[in-house]
């Protein structure tokens, strides 16, 4: 059924030889005996059915305790995981961990062995807990661990696999007793409980389960049953068939989860903290091919020694399988997330600029790859072999240099292109349009001056702000003033261009009413240097709000506005960026006119995808034209109702622009957020009129691209502009076999125009390993990158496929990847154990977050615009942004140490982690919430808000008052740090516990059951486990 993949290319859809993948099955994980029945059906699956209140599904009970969720090392060691107040585990763990990456390779020669494994099993013994940890935990810490690990790893991998599989296949028809737990066997739930609860607590650890098992279970159980039934039904059905759970489900807070042991399942926070502990603050040198960089959440210093910094390129895996069969078997996407203009911290070296003068960059004759560290010089330096296509080229005479005793050029360290992973070339005229050096780019500000924008003061706000922000136009290195030129257009249903030539006494306004075929009415004086025309521009900006003060024009146009800007840039023969400030559905008679087509009835049908597609076919060709002329469109939207983001946002998306959306914008509340975004967007690093080419060594190639890009053919990635926050995700496929010796090399070249109008090439090189052992592949994966890829490919698929199918495929692929690992790499264990590769320990929780994202959630409660907006945002996100977006940061504030500058340790996004006495800060890159527990400490409330009590706190505020006390200062500093480096200014919402707005906040507690559907982490994990079991059998 779901055999056709959601991405047109085959690998997703190829059925796996080894593992029969059949989606219906996993819907039934509740009762294996019913495995044959159709998915999504609600029949009682066993005796429990009768017991379940409301006829809800018996399967529902399955998640409970009996699962033995393997913990990571830190957990095994002690209490850290338990609750937020706990000391950051990183501190204690740091010294105890062996240096991670090198040891992995050296200590486990067997390719199959995983450095560390998280195992989840039904069995209660502590052994599992320990066994997973063997790799990570220092031997001294957990005595029971190493033996188990040793046993697992020492066994010949090949032979062990069948042994794992075998029980599985035997077991399937009648689940073995051992399997009871996960399989939701018909045993009485209490049994599970009791079996399960002791489980997670490692016998030898000081770990204290929060609720004493015995006490909670008795009374708790019925309640749990009541809540769980529906919830599970929801979860169960969700992947094959949507979330029928409905509001009833939302009503009940998922209290029962308390009775499970959430601490026993892999914790993203723990993983992040571990990585931070081991690698944070260190220097990471990129001198080795295929090494796995620190997580995006870890701060470290990166030193380019021949491979591009992970700030520029991150991969889903740093070790590619040698053959396409292997790739298909594992189903791990091979992808790179490239952020070519990523911001580099000031303590790292900026890119070197190589200038070969008129000859231009040295390139391979055959594949046109640029000179890079992967080129092998031979014959005494007279020739070189291209690392990508293996072609042997002559070294151009001007470039000749002798080789040293190890065959390296003597100038190896003098030339960035020989020794660095990333560098820039000055491009020659051959790389310019029409072989002419480009003109400096231009920014055009286009302001919607229709009635509502004038009335709510937005126009005034924008005009005031432009006066200051234009002082800070980006400039190239040593330039004194920016070479960027600026232009201004206002519009409602007609367009007003402004002549702000410096010689004019006052600006001139030119009205273009011919919106059906818009054109640029003036040439000279439209795009000017801000410095030269400053007084005229200020005069204009002063006048604009007044000029339209009496206007009662409600209708607006949109496509003609973009076209006008594009035509203006075209006429001036320069690339540029349009800043459009728009607020309504463009209903005026003009091309690109839109009507309100928001139809909730389409949700959960095959036609739902229509809501994500543009309404008319005007916008796509328009975007194409924009890209062709290097016109990037950034859109600031201020909607008060449906404005059809899917249509309006298309051009910004395809032209590498950014879409900002401020719902129900109110000047007095939301100005700051908007102005920060505006400043940020104007000032950020950006390259114009870019074209990107990803070259690979033989054996594989880039097949699919996601991001703010436009593709006219299959290889050239065209971008009207690309800024420091935009990432392009590239998927690779095998052409042929890869060799372990030469590895897999990637060169990403971006040809672009700088803000000063210089044409440049930015080159990023990255070498990856190749292996014929699946274990190596799994060892080198990066879950954050995987999620980035999955999110983008799924969000792209949203345009073409029913959401149901997409969700199914995501779940299936997750299960498949894990099953393949289990089958081929993990040490033999009971089939009922859930074993996760260390690198993918948090894949289920992240995947669940992705599945719960409102884009993939078919719920009429969520506004269509919001879904389209988030879809679009994710498409251009880099790994760090997508990580935060899908798994928000939740930090306790009440435990703040006002003397320390470190951030309070994050905690898991679950309601169980909150406390009435606490104040918590949650951020996901778009929103920030300050959650106040009902019993928040008054001194904190006083300190932060300057009001005497919780009740006095005004939740309307979007900015914290600037107070002199340490609480306020520290909190605002923390918020500043969190905000830093994020492309979007986060809107702060103050949420009080047990007040209505808390519902919004709850949506971000992603480990819990979703408010609008979407299963909890625990449930999803069970679902995946069940699926894996199915696959293994």
């Amino acid at each position: 059924m779901s055999q056709q993949g959601y991405v047109a290319t085959p690998p997703y859809s190829q059925s796996q030889p080894g593992i029969g993948l059949s989606p219906p099955h996993y819907g039934h994980y509740g009762d294996p005996s019913h495995a044959g029945s159709p998915p999504g059906m609600m029949k009682p699956a066993g005796p429990l059915g009768a017991a379940a209140p409301g006829g809800m599904l018996p399967q529902g009970h399955l998640p409970p305790g009996p699962h033995q969720f393997g913990q990571n090392g830190a957990h095994a060691q002690g209490p850290p995981l338990q609750r937020f107040p706990g000391p950051p585990p990183g501190n204690s763990a740091a010294p105890s961990y062996a240096p991670y990456p090198p040891s992995t390779q050296s200590s486990y020669p067997s390719p199959v062995s995983t450095s560390s494994v998280a195992q989840l099993g039904t069995q209660l013994s502590a052994m599992h807990v320990n066994s997973y940890g063997s790799g990570m935990a220092p031997p001294s810490q957990g005595p029971p661990g190493p033996p188990a690990a040793a046993a697992a790893f020492q066994g010949p991998p090949r032979s062990s696999q069948p042994s794992i599989l075998q029980p599985g296949s035997q077991v399937l028809p009648p689940p073995p007793t051992a399997l009871n737990g996960p399989g939701a066997s018909p045993l009485p739930p209490s049994t599970h409980r009791q079996d399960g609860l002791p489980g997670p607590a490692p016998p030898n650890a000081q770990y204290q389960p929060p609720p004493p098992p015995g006490q909670t279970l008795g009374p708790g159980y019925p309640l749990q049953q009541a809540n769980y039934g529906p919830q599970m039904a929801g979860a169960q059905l969700s992947y094959p068939g949507g979330f029928p759970g409905g509001p009833a489900q939302m009503a009940g807070p998922p209290q029962p989860q308390k009775k499970l042991d959430p601490d026993s399942i892999p914790s993203p926070i723990q993983v992040i903290e571990n990585d931070r502990a081991t690698r944070g603050g260190q220097v990471y040198t990129t001198n080795t091919r295929g090494q796995i960089p620190p997580l995006v959440t870890t701060d470290c210093t990166i030193q380019d020694q021949g491979n591009a910094s992970p700030r520029y390129i991150r991969c889903t895996t740093y070790c590619f399988p040698c053959t396409s069969d292997m790739a298909k078997q594992a189903q791990i996407p091979l992808a790179a997330i490239i952020k070519p203009f990523a911001t580099i911290p000031s303590n790292e070296t900026p890119l070197y600029l190589v200038n070969h003068g008129e000859t231009g960059p040295v390139r391979c004759n055959r594949c046109k790859a640029y000179m890079c560290p992967f080129m092998q010089f031979i014959e005494g330096g007279r020739r070189y072999q291209c690392g990508f296509c293996n072609c042997v080229n002559d070294v151009p005479p001007f470039y000749f240099q002798h080789l040293d005793h190890i065959g390296r050029r003597l100038d190896h360290y003098e030339k960035p292109e020989l020794s660095l992973g990333s560098y820039e070339y000055v491009a020659t005229l051959d790389y310019c349009r029409k072989n002419k050096p480009p003109n400096p780019p231009a920014f055009i500000f286009m302001i919607d001056v229709s009635y509502s924008n004038i009335k709510n003061g937005l126009v005034k706000l924008i005009c005031e702000e432009l006066k200051t922000v234009l002082e800070k136009l980006p400039k190239e290195g040593q330039e004194e003033t920016s070479s960027l030129r600026v232009g201004f257009i206002t519009y409602n249903k007609v367009l007003h261009f402004f002549n702000v030539k410096s010689t004019l006494a006052r600006p001139q306004m030119m009205v273009v009413t011919d919106v059906s075929e818009v054109f640029v009415p003036l040439l000279d004086g439209f795009l000017v240097s801000y410095q030269e025309s400053q007084s005229v521009i200020h005069n204009l900006l002063d006048q604009i709000p007044e000029m339209f003060a009496d206007s009662n024009e409600n209708e607006t146009v949109f496509a003609p506005v973009i076209r006008a800007g594009m035509e203006a840039l075209k006429a001036a023969d320069c690339p540029g960026k349009l800043f459009i400030f728009h607020s309504s559905l463009p209903t005026a008679e003009a091309p690109g006119k839109l009507k309100n087509r928001d139809d909730k009835k389409l949700i959960n049908t095959d036609k739902e995808k229509i809501l994500f597609q543009p309404q008319t076919n005007v916008y796509d060709p328009l975007a194409k034209d924009c890209v062709a002329h290097g016109c990037c469109v950034t859109l600031f939207l201020f909607p008060s109702q449906y404005v059809d983001v899917a249509s309006l946002g298309l051009v910004p998306q395809l032209t590498g622009g950014t879409l900002y959306k401020y719902n129900n914008f109110q000047v007095h509340l939301d100005s700051q957020q908007f102005l920060n975004d505006l400043r940020n967007d104007i000032e950020k690093k950006i390259g114009f009129d870019a074209i990107m080419r990803v070259r690979t060594s033989t054996g594989f190639r880039a097949t699919d691209f996601f991001g703010g890009i436009y593709m006219n053919n299959t290889t050239d990635v065209e971008m009207a502009a690309i800024d420091c926050d935009k990432a392009v995700t590239v998927e690779f496929k095998h052409d042929d076999k890869l060799s372990e010796d030469s590895g897999a090399l990637i060169q990403c070249a971006v040809l672009y125009t700088t803000v000063s109008g210089q044409r440049r090439l930015r080159i990023h090189n990255l070498g990856l390993n190749c292996s014929s052992q699946l274990g190596d592949l799994y060892k080198s994966c990066e879950t954050d990158a995987l999620i980035n890829f999955f999110a983008k490919s799924a969000f792209k698929a949203v345009l073409h496929q029913p959401l149901k199918v997409i969700r199914e495929i995501l779940v299936n692929q997750t299960a498949h990847m894990l099953a393949c690992y289990r089958k081929n790499c993990a040490s033999p264990s009971a089939a009922s154990q859930l074993i996760l590769p260390d690198s993918m320990k948090v894949l289920p929780v992240y995947m669940n977050c992705l599945l719960k994202n409102c884009v993939l959630l078919s719920k009429p409660e969520i506004s269509t615009d919001e879904r389209a907006y988030q879809r679009q945002l994710v498409m251009t996100m880099g790994v760090a942004d997508s990580q935060l977006f899908f798994y928000p940061q939740l930090r306790p504030i009440h435990t703040l140490d006002v003397k320390s500058t470190t951030l309070p340790a994050a905690i898991r996004c679950s309601e169980t982690r909150l406390s009435e006495e606490g104040i918590f800060l949650l951020a996901n890159g778009l929103n920030m919430f300050l959650w106040l527990g009902v019993s928040s400490p008054p001194e904190l409330i006083q300190g932060i808000f300057n009001v005497p009590s919780f009740a006095h706190v005004n939740t309307d505020m979007t900015l914290l008052p600037e107070l002199g006390n340490p609480y306020s200062q520290t909190l605002r500093m923390i918020m500043g740090i969190i905000q830093q480096k994020r492309p979007y200014s986060m809107k702060l919402t103050i949420v009080k516990q047990r007040e209505q707005p808390e519902m919004v906040f709850r949506q971000f507690l992603v480990e819990d059951k979703g408010l609008y559907g979407g299963s909890s982490y625990v449930d999803f994990l069970c679902c995946v486990h069940k699926e894996i079991c199915q696959l293994l059998n």
Binding site: D514, E517, F519, L523
Partner: protein
């Protein structure tokens, strides 16, 4: 009675009319045998310092099909207070205001010396003078500067309540809004797109009143004028503003590549000007003043492409049917001219360039609306500057010598019918009993519209004698013609000038001598020349010449005295003696000969010929060579 010459002169001075024949052949047959048609040249607004207008309205004949104006030729019954119309013989009651009328107390219009009377109409709103400048910006810097100065100067000549508007064009067309403070605002149109009047008005926001009235603000009567006034403002309000605007006017900024002509959107600019006035001041006199420095090179109405290597069409090209854009462009401008004329707006063209500017195609704009056509080499010449200044010259009362939105109506007594008119006018297509079926010039109507005219604007009006040979006119019978000109005076009054003339009928068989003696050869020459030039516009040159020759031969045959086969015996009476000479010069004049003239020049000459008064016309036909000496006044030489 004095000589005919004196009679003619006196008539011309009093009424601004000169007839080819001052005694009329009394039957249709005889009239046609006279070769030169019965016709007159009429200067409707001939300057009459001695004729103060009367401050009341004319008394009209009550017959709906007639409505002739009471005049000295009417029979008046002072006792019964009745008057008989001399055209339809309807007996009419005098209006109450004329109750005191008697033989000794006559109103002016009944006195014989007041064959021409000017009435001032008091009712109706007075409409201001409207001037819409349409300015080409594809000019050389000094040309533009000179033009800007001329325009600024003209502002100072306008009365303070005159409305002005400004449209500039080059590659784009800009309609300047004059009312805004602080920022100069203009509406811009693409120079390549042909827009309908409706579209233009929509785009300029002139069709707003359809907007639902805001409940909070009950109907605002001020609404409408404020809209139109965005683009047309009284000069006293925006004097400074407009002077600055003109001062800041820049050359068209779009780059002109080597070997190309600048892109000039004259067609669209004019179309927008016409559309703007149509939407704001329909049926009100207005003057569109188009200043061009080169040919239209894009959009509707383009005359030549922008490639310099392709020269603008010549007569040669036109003969070879090689003028690609001519027909289309002509059609475009004709359409505009007709629209402007229908609304009473006149169009002036001031074309200053070394090469042709497309006057051939655009001529109808001036010719149909009574606008001026000025052709010069540069705006920076005294020719242009002085000519332009003279447009705003004032008469002895301090009023502009210009009038707007005139209609000329011709009424004839029943033996006569109107065959047509030749001059700066368009037909109003008013059929009536006095309209002839045979057309000479613009015919088929008894009324014409002359959108712009000045005291020298002169029309040729052609008549047909319809009296049948077998229905003789009683001895002493007189034929009468009344010319009624409604117009908007430059003092913004509506006025009517009525001229009634009468001539004796004579039987051509018995009284040919009388008729011959009453021949006005000067008027006849001009009238024939107008016919010839009119024909030349639509016919091949040689055909026209042949036709002229034949007419001359027939005339000589009819009136000459000669012995057959003896050329030396040929004599023409005094009243005909100069006529052949005029024809000779006409044949070789630039009005009929295009050799060595560009199509633009020909159009320019013909334009002027079709509107000048008799003296000017004669000079144009037969240039006078003056010899100057220190010993006396200049003498004219042959």
């Amino acid at each position: 009675m004095a000589t005919y010459l004196e009679f003619i002169q006196q008539n011309e001075e009093r009424d601004g009319v000169r007839f080819s024949w001052n005694v009329w052949p009394s039957s249709r047959l005889e009239a046609t045998r006279m070769v030169v048609p019965l016709a007159c040249i009429l200067t409707p607004l001939k300057e009459r310092p001695d004729l103060p207008p009367v401050q009341y309205e004319p008394v009209l004949c009550s017959r709906p099909t007639c409505k002739a104006i009471l005049n000295p030729l009417c029979q008046v019954d002072y006792r019964a207070k009745l008057w008989a119309c001399n055209f339809c013989f309807q007996r009419n009651q005098f209006p109450p205001a004329y109750a005191g009328i008697s033989e000794v107390n006559q109103p002016a219009e009944l006195m014989p010396q007041f064959s021409t009377v000017e009435y001032v109409i008091q009712r109706g709103a007075q409409s201001p003078l409207i001037f819409l400048y349409v300015v080409d910006t594809c000019l050389e810097e000094d040309d533009l500067q000179a033009l800007k100065e001329s325009l600024q100067m003209s502002l100072s000549l306008l009365p303070p309540d005159a409305m002005v508007g400004l449209i500039t064009f080059g590659r784009m067309v800009q309609v300047h809004e004059l009312s805004c403070e602080g920022i100069s605002k203009s509406y811009v149109f693409r120079g390549t797109k042909d827009l309908t009047a409706k579209q233009i008005q929509d785009m300029l926001g002139l069709t707003k009143p359809a907007m639902p009235v805001h409940p909070a603000h009950p109907a605002q009567p001020q609404e409408h004028p404020s809209i139109s006034s965005r683009f047309l403002q009284p000069i006293h309000k925006i004097d400074m503003n407009l002077t600055d605007l003109l001062g800041e006017l820049q050359r068209d900024p779009w780059p002109v590549p080597q070997g190309k002509r600048p892109l000039r959107s004259t067609g669209v600019a004019l179309s927008i000007a016409v559309g703007l006035l149509e939407g704001t001041f329909p049926n009100t006199g207005a003057r569109i003043m188009l200043f061009v420095g080169g040919p239209p090179t894009q959009g509707p109405g383009m005359v030549v492409g922008d490639e310099l290597k392709v020269p603008i069409r010549s007569w040669h090209d036109i003969e070879k049917d090689n003028a690609r854009f001519m027909k289309k462009a002509t059609k475009h401008y004709e359409m505009l001219a007709n629209r402007a004329a229908a609304n009473g707006h006149c169009v002036d063209i001031y074309a200053c360039a070394l090469d042709q500017t497309g006057l051939l195609e655009m001529k109808c704009c001036t010719n149909l609306t009574g606008g001026h056509m000025v052709m010069g080499d540069s705006f920076n010449t005294s020719l242009f500057k002085q000519t332009f200044q003279r447009i705003f010259s004032k008469d002895f009362n301090g009023n502009f010598r210009m009038a707007f939105g005139a209609t000329l109506e011709v009424k004839t007594s029943r033996e006569l019918k109107v065959a047509g008119a030749i001059g700066p006018c368009v037909s109003l297509n008013v059929k009536g009993p006095c309209v002839s079926e045979n057309e000479l010039g613009v015919g088929g109507t008894s009324q014409w519209k002359i959108c712009g005219l000045d005291p020298t604007s002169t029309l040729g009006i052609y008549f047909e004698v319809v009296n049948q040979h077998n229905a003789p006119i009683p001895q002493g019978g007189r034929g009468a013609i009344q010319f009624v000109t409604h117009y908007q005076h430059s003092s913004t009054q509506r006025r009517i000038r009525a001229t009634t003339i009468a001539r004796n009928w004579a039987d051509a068989q018995s009284q040919l001598k009388h008729i011959e003696a009453a021949f006005d050869q000067e008027a006849a020459a001009v009238l024939m020349a107008r016919l010839g030039v009119f024909r030349a516009e639509s016919e091949e040159g040689p055909d026209v010449l042949r036709w002229l020759d034949r007419q001359l031969i027939r005339l000589c045959q009819k009136f000459g005295q000669y012995t057959k086969e003896d050329p030396s015996s040929f004599r023409l009476s005094d009243s005909f003696s100069l006529y052949p000479q005029f024809m000779f010069h006409l044949r070789r004049s630039p009005f009929l000969q295009v050799f060595n003239n560009s199509p633009d020049e020909s159009s320019y000459y013909r334009h002027h010929f079709a509107r000048q008064d008799l003296t000017q016309s004669l000079i144009m036909i037969q240039p006078i060579l003056y010899s100057y000496s220190f010993h006396g006044p200049p003498e004219s030489k042959r």
